[in-house]
Symmetry: C2
Subunit: 215 residues, 2 copies
């Protein structure tokens, strides 16, 4: 599949690299197509690089991995016709570091980043996922032993199945993917971040996750 | 130990009953001391019943398990001298159901219920814990198989050790109690609730919890 990855940071490169490794074509999108570091990475990895608009045009599926504050601007710089109708995987967290650590959330409680994307592109099939774990765990679930859980939020069952199949190709067992429900459930997944950040401080490495254990 | 439990709902009665079972003296506090249902429960369980002020006077340790919106009013009806200096275990969640389900949080993002209690009673040793699981799991950790995690937030290491010892007497293994840090980390534990509520919807019973798995 042709996949447009928005964002050339740690998450974008980790997901882009894994998508290439499992056989997809990847274009990394960023504000400008001439980011030397992103171009060097893409040349070595076998990806292409473009603007966000290029990546949206390229991708049959779009994966948004920019900073939270950049999401709507990045999507807004594209032709809306290249977004509506597609599966849009939202991996972002609306973290606001303007007051230092710990960050607060710039969208919270009665709304979420994922809902804002869904509202802006009503015909897109937004799936919130992967935002509750580090990039290293996203692409290598076996780096954390045994079962541990990732979440889906989205209105479109077929889109969630497409994303689950991608995640299974990364090594995620189907039974470790928990579908929380519609896109409003992304509030829960995003509001988990402050707890994740504190756990990160305790564990001291990004190689951890939570497993939902049932009685 | 003499323990004052604030709240005569599901959580207050579950924790009160367990504290009695492991050998403590318990007074359940509520707005009025003549709640027939609470009195009937206490008579059978071997607890006593009083106002919040009575329970605060009685307890060497206080355990707050009222509705989130009632916490500061309940504490405010007591003699502050019966609160300051004591370990105050905050089990509450600031859930706001005024707009229906899912609830939002009435305190969130840059503040937390636990921090508000700590700010109101600077000499109290507030420990946030147990708010991330259902009452049935609090008092019967073996109802969920294997390891699963509860969290501590608080400024006083000795108070957290006291609470951990109580939790171990309930059956919680020491290694399943994660100390997140000071009282500001309660934001993370409280902001987890929207995710917990969605998981509850998926799992369909309160017998579940998360286990923090390390790589």
């Amino acid at each position: 599949m042709k996949i447009g990855v928005f964002g050339t940071g740690t998450v974008g490169k980790a997901l882009g690299g894994k998508l290439l490794a499992v056989g997809h074509e990847v274009m990394l999108g960023s504000r400008s197509a001439d980011n030397p570091e992103a171009n060097a990475w893409a040349a070595e990895a076998g990806a292409t690089v473009g603007t966000f608009a290029d990546a949206a045009r390229f991708g049959e599926l779009l994966l948004v991995a920019t900073a939270g504050a950049a999401v709507l601007d990045a999507l807004g710089s594209c032709d809306a016709g290249d977004i509506n109708g597609k599966v849009v995987v939202d991996v972002t967290n609306p973290l606001d570091f303007s007051a230092g650590f710990p960050p607060s959330l710039s969208i919270v409680n009665t709304d979420s980043q994922a809902e804002q994307v869904q509202a802006a592109y009503p015909e897109a099939k937004v799936v919130k996922t992967f935002n509750t774990i580090s990039a290293v765990v996203m692409v290598d679930p076996a780096s954390v032993p045994g079962h541990h859980t990732i979440f889906h939020s989205g209105n479109d069952a077929e889109a969630k199945a497409t994303v689950a199949a991608l995640q299974q190709s990364f090594g995620w067992p189907a039974e470790d993917i928990m579908d929380l429900g519609d896109i409003t459930t992304a509030r829960g997944a995003e509001m988990y971040l402050p707890l994740w950040l504190r756990m990160f401080g305790v564990v001291g490495t990004p190689f951890f996750n939570i497993n939902v254990v049932r009685g």
